[in-house]
Symmetry: C2
Subunit: 402 residues, 2 copies
Amino acid sequence: MPVNFTESTDLKPIAGVRLNSICAGIKRTDRDDVTLFEFIEGTTFAAVFTKNAFCAAPVEIAKQHLQRANPRFWLINSGNANAGTGETGKDNAKRCCSSVSILGKCEQFQVLPFSTGVIGQPLPIEKIESILPDLLEGLNKQHWLKAARAIMTTDTLSKGVSREIILNGKTVTITGIAKGAGMIRPDMATMLAFIATDAKIETPILQECLKQAVEKSFNRITIDGDTSTNDSCILAATGKSGVFINDENRETFQTTLEEVCIYLAQSIVRDGEGATKFITIEVLKGKTEQECLEVAYTIAHSPLVKTAFFASDANWGRILAAVGRSGVENLDLNAVEIYLNNVCIVRNGGRAIEYTEEQGHQAMSPAEIVVQIYLHRGISNTQVWTCDFSYDYVRINAEYRT
Amino acid sequence: MPVNFTESTDLKPIAGVRLNSICAGIKRTDRDDVTLFEFIEGTTFAAVFTKNAFCAAPVEIAKQHLQRANPRFWLINSGNANAGTGETGKDNAKRCCSSVSILGKCEQFQVLPFSTGVIGQPLPIEKIESILPDLLEGLNKQHWLKAARAIMTTDTLSKGVSREIILNGKTVTITGIAKGAGMIRPDMATMLAFIATDAKIETPILQECLKQAVEKSFNRITIDGDTSTNDSCILAATGKSGVFINDENRETFQTTLEEVCIYLAQSIVRDGEGATKFITIEVLKGKTEQECLEVAYTIAHSPLVKTAFFASDANWGRILAAVGRSGVENLDLNAVEIYLNNVCIVRNGGRAIEYTEEQGHQAMSPAEIVVQIYLHRGISNTQVWTCDFSYDYVRINAEYRT
């Protein structure tokens, strides 16, 4: 069960974007699995892709196509990741783009492919091609929720959000959808996020905005530390609101974009497999943000810390040991303070004098826990979000691929 | 249940070493928990300690004492790690050494303290002091198995081994005992290994021998990636065999020492918490041993790979994705080959053409699995040993500390 999370059904359309989803029967015949986004001419784009050296065919093709021209379409399928499929996989991704381009009257490289699902099986390209005419026929501004549901794989709920702001006296809207974190399940790979706005933004600035927002959101979550082969986040700006983003209004736009990305990123953690707790790890007063991040991720990836969260066990020794092995140079453990939901559990390198196990157990019981680690050696801070490690994580990931 | 592992009861005594274990009731009253080793004068020593910045009081004191003189005694307690105990912890560790030194007629700094067990609770020093006279009284060459059992915490079986070799026409013996890997259980910290030989070796060479052996054994195992606060491995050479280790016979001695360390290290993995499989990960034909290690540990620490091993699921996508995210620069995934128990599952960056799921499931079914990753970009090789990730791992680690 997701942690304090419900589906957002009120997703605002973005002027200049039409979309549609349909069932091609890629893996199941009872749900939509192919989605198409169409963008008005003049739309600008920014994208961030997985750093995994083993990246999927659609990721390679999408990167190539983005180099050549501004896209007109995004084609997304769930049920098959088209990863570990070699040259055939790339040919299949290209052929999908080609088929869309013929029907959609654009160049092949103006279509970006995205895939998510089982690794290592050939993409059933005929199934996808057969539904493309209907998919284009049904393009509609209102289909964001339909799309959010169609890109799901092992997600239990769809993830989407809209934000509106007034800039230069006009309304600017950002709507985004996303799916499943990390390598969630046997052969299921991929975190995908698709975001659009009707603001008008030049490509280099849009790329900067996205990069900065991703750094504060999708790059601050972890379920199990396993970077997927297909991770992609892409942002389109149609310009149809008539609001040009410039030095004056950029900060407001950036803040709102970050809100959207953080909402989507946190949704992914709240719906992480087997998650029973949503955990915020704040590392404070470090020398650099990098060292804060190292400490935060060492804690967030420790199976021992994560099982303690599952058990609501305020096992401060495990947290302190994780801080100790995080590789931060010349760390003075005696300066470290650790708080769980505002209860000080560690001070001066040992259990805080006033701390009782009863307090610790109470602090660990809620479904939302904030862990604060004060390093007390600088002015840098960071935070990451993660979930606990439960029996269900093992169950979900141990089930044979079927 | 440990994986293909039974207790070795035939541990050879080492001339010049006497030992004894006794129950002080530190955590439980039905088992030995304090152990003393006594060494003849002239014994040389080598030691390797945890790199965790949050290291336990006895580790700090043992390091200090080793700087000052060759030890005469090692004092080891289980049931309490004396970690996260601040200045009081160090005072307690020193006081134990002092009490032994008075009874044993040596300097305080000739006693090395070791502790393993619950973190953050004060060491019950009176209990330990009260049994010291009996402990010294009962010192005996034969008590290695008794000691191997007394240093256990959550280990299900004791771990020990002896090897004999003929050097210069005389028998040289090495006997070692060890306990529990990583941060095994709520508040249980520590991998401890105590090894002794009757060979005669100068301190700098002994330290080199141990460092090299540890690099190939204890530094090649992982249960959950959580480095303990108390990890220590110490080696004593009494010289009583009359065999001096020199350039001629050093290689044979080294090989035998490595056999002892590898046996103990593998025992720890075989008895890892919740382990149902013993997994050897070999990374071959890399540019450097370091990059081979990075790949091996990324695989060994991936919760997704470990749950797949538990499920006997030959999920090659997860293994390949772990290779891809291991951070090796300019890695050509198309050159990578992956074998599971000699079945080729991945070639040219995708599923091997001849491979069938049936073969994969068969290769994953035994309790012992060898994973071979060929990087095909150099001549360096390495291997690490790990276990799978089961429901029992979560159960053991989620149980509230009691």
